[in-house]
Symmetry: C2
Subunit: 363 residues, 2 copies
Amino acid sequence: MDEVQNHAFRLRREDMPPVKKRENMEEIKKIMLAHGGGGRLMGDLIARMIVPKFGDGQSVQLTDSAVIDVPSDKICFTTDSFVVQPLFFNGGDIGKLSVCGTVNDLAVAGAKPMALSLSLILEEGLDMDILEKILQSIADTAKAANVNIVTGDTKVVETGSADGIFINTSGVGVLMDNADLSFARIKPGDAILINGTLGDHGMTIMSQREGLKFDTPLSSDCACLHELTQMLCENCGEAVKFMRDPTRGGLAATLNEVAKSSGVNVELTETALPIDKTVQTAADMLGFDLLNIANEGKVLAVVDAAVADKAIDLWKSHPLGKKAAVIGTIAETDDSPLVELVTKIGGRRIVQTPYGRELPRIC
Amino acid sequence: MDEVQNHAFRLRREDMPPVKKRENMEEIKKIMLAHGGGGRLMGDLIARMIVPKFGDGQSVQLTDSAVIDVPSDKICFTTDSFVVQPLFFNGGDIGKLSVCGTVNDLAVAGAKPMALSLSLILEEGLDMDILEKILQSIADTAKAANVNIVTGDTKVVETGSADGIFINTSGVGVLMDNADLSFARIKPGDAILINGTLGDHGMTIMSQREGLKFDTPLSSDCACLHELTQMLCENCGEAVKFMRDPTRGGLAATLNEVAKSSGVNVELTETALPIDKTVQTAADMLGFDLLNIANEGKVLAVVDAAVADKAIDLWKSHPLGKKAAVIGTIAETDDSPLVELVTKIGGRRIVQTPYGRELPRIC
């Protein structure tokens, strides 16, 4: 009797409802709310668009979390969300930026990047083609940086509730043995280095928003900096005191943090600052101070003055350090710490922490 | 001469522009774009609202990345973004959810949660009071779960470009020695356990959105599950084959993944499913199948049948496991793997992976 009932009630595979037309997933050209619902459509999105891009099929783990082998008892952990507008800009896009940004946060902490997570917040209606391009850019950048995307998450919100796509990447890295970086180690006499020109990312984004065109087009400096930071730590060891990527708030924000946290004065030499002429023109036209403008491929390092020349030579041997320069020194403070710019004509101007209003959604 | 010039050009502290009225930061009642600009306003937001909440002042690190001591050579890494609407619901809020969600992803992977990152995407105009409440909830939940928030990020987008607040948390945990969890270890005969009632989170959110009221108000099950998972691993060792928190897509999505990934059939016993009466009423009124509905405080475990009773007794000794039950078994598959529900009257219904359309923005 029970068995008869079981057969009677049993819905066989061939009785299952046929796949509806709107479920023909390859034909879906735009993101729908259901892509974030945790069901078949999300599974398809992940299996068809995300997994094939990240890794060789073996390193990809599709569970909600990933297990990582750590060859150290100290790891470095960081996170960053990216909301840049426009999504695509000269020199990069939100995907490249989201890999570089997190790789760089690990790099300047003296860590070797190991693994990234990738969390997407997608707006309903986002073109699949745009998503595809961004994912490809993420994959290409991660591969070039030799870092794996090991775990992820996808959410979808209604049209109008987000702006196309927001990306979060978090990262895990292993601290390098020869890195000993902290504000506390910065002392008067130390040299301040940068690996190239200032403000390229911010001015590229702003010019694109404002519709400015130049004969020499501006291009974001968006790049992964871990090779430059490793080079420095491996060759100069503990003579490297501190590193930071001056992104939002630019050099001004970073150096003010150095002054305040280390209890020192910072003296910048205006004539030593590497600045691209077109970037300067754009900044002048739009009324920006390049010291406040975001960089996405720059690392500032504070090193013992004795190794400054060696460090600059090292950086100049790398494509991302061709315009590396010593841009200032750390000085004693007799009062509350200050950042000062020694101007072209020998005057001094206090460089303040920017208010923050300059450049919304620059990264 | 140089010295005279230096003095002439030197802008002294007392010459610096006075703080403008709009920069009186404590009086700012709403989030402004400049709060995400990397400058003074962002620094104030972080220093005044974020840092005091997370930790004792010592464990808080304000750099872009944090160093964590890992007592193991294997760590677990996970990420989740949270976009739930409404931001506050009975039983929780987006802040509590964002801690529990990531703690749970680590927990069901067999890891002890160690550290979380916190990344905020704020909409310009968000009330500071709302942000304050959410941050407090994050802090309280993290403290109760004994997990530190160690690094973070804050972005602000224009009014209309996000919906109040989106939160990403990523997490790092240490794999427990006695956890050996994988789809591959699931075998016919294994028992399927759950720690309590189904669909509470999803139906609470949906009822609140639809304005439904009940004599017994619905409440989200939102909770951190690491104590339940540790309890199981420590006491039942390798008899625990697999664990997962059935969030988006509910039990149906999780069990279909089990069937497909392990190459087995799953048999659920309808009469054994713990279901709250009011939640069932809400689901019936709104036309939902509770098997498809998100949980945020439930862990599904597949264990060797020999330890099933012991596991249930363990869970019942914990406040979050009072209604724990064995809800099904793993069976051989003679064809492509299936999830079947043995109904109250002994029939069988195939449980499919939901399409994903049911519940947008449930977490």
